[in-house]
Subunit: 220 residues, 2 copies
């Protein structure tokens, strides 16, 4: 029993995914990750990460035998390529400074064999930021969210609370008015520092973990 | 007929996706995007963007009636939240400077209503970069790739050529030795500048398009 990541190129038509999942289910294989989207040339791109695969050659042969499938390839998983994600939301001069710290620190970890990506959405406005926080529950591999702004509160606080009830989401924020610091796991004044610390939190080669700090000592 | 983005929380067990795709296929709905992953609490998270939906209420009712489904919610699409992606690969001092330019420029566009994300993977080594370029064919919404390094060639060149045969991928790169500049669409010496120009290329509110430049004038 092994895990595999495979990529299927297919005709874009209704029902193709059903044909594919039927074969996978018949093989008693678990789908740990699936990403399907329509390419610019209108082909379907279906990327799967499969667990408990008994006979990968037979599976690929059966998938290839579908009329709607052009090709099936084995490839590295998204986790292998892109690794954990540190997500940065915010605007103005601060968002790029937080990213600067995070990217420089991730470079130092990745050169030692880790994989950490820094995904930045420059976004402002209470409603837009709250919506983007909610969207984190629908994307994989999120490790730490950093809020890089000068005023965040209201709906943003409510959304963090809501997400944290269900997900193990770590939130670091800049020190700022608005109340968002009350629901953040770590509050840092310097933007480069908060970026660095977010990557240290995500990294498995680093010893830093905000949970080791006393609750009264989580503001820098 | 309308388009919807929905999110399904389900039991994590074999065959759930098949049950769901069966219902969607029966409704004659097209799946434009699907992302499935296992959450930390072991629930399945299945996020779909659907086209040609006739009766969304009936669809949600039928999905909710599945024993393995906990909840179904309508939410904004990934395109609405995260928008187009400018992807940055490279290492050292340059990767964060390219990101600095790109994030600052994206902030200026997003504040005017666009959505552009800057996704950075600090990565070095011919093989790792080539693999990460290949992985771009398996993720959605990629607009421009920026190569931020001081020496890139060999396999990286071959991978760019291969991807460009099939995908409409735009590649900007720093001016550097190694030959990668030969297969890049635009070559820029200053790292902040190449980040800014990548976002201008991706943006629909900007007038810049490298294709408007003479081929002999695509190096800055």
């Amino acid at each position: 029993m092994s895990n595999y990541a495979i990529s299927i190129k297919s005709v874009e038509k209704k029902g193709v995914l059903e044909e594919i999942t039927e074969i996978i289910t018949a093989h008693n294989i678990n789908i740990a990750y699936l990403n399907l989207f329509i390419e610019r040339d209108s082909k379907g791109s279906i990327n799967l990460e499969l667990e408990d695969v008994d006979d990968i050659d037979l599976l690929i042969k059966e998938l290839n035998s579908l009329e709607s499938v052009y090709s099936v390839e084995i490839h590295p998983s998204q986790e292998d390529v892109f690794g954990k994600r540190v997500i940065i939301y915010g605007g103005g001069s601060q968002v790029s400074q937080v990213a600067l710290g995070a990217i420089t620190e991730a470079d130092r970890h990745n050169i030692r064999g880790e994989r950490i990506s820094i995904d930045t959405l420059p976004v402002v406005g209470e409603e837009s930021i709250a919506e983007a926080i909610n969207a984190l529950t629908r994307i994989p591999r999120v490790s730490v969210l950093v809020l890089a702004g000068s005023l965040m509160g209201g709906e943003i606080i409510e959304e963090i609370k809501k997400v944290k009830e269900v997900y193990d989401l770590t939130v670091f924020s800049l020190n700022m008015p608005g109340g968002v610091t009350e629901v953040s796991d770590l509050v840092v004044t310097d933007p480069i520092q908060v970026g660095v610390m977010a990557v240290m939190q995500a990294a498995s080669t680093a010893v830093f973990d905000y949970r080791k700090l006393k609750k009264s000592n989580r503001k820098f």
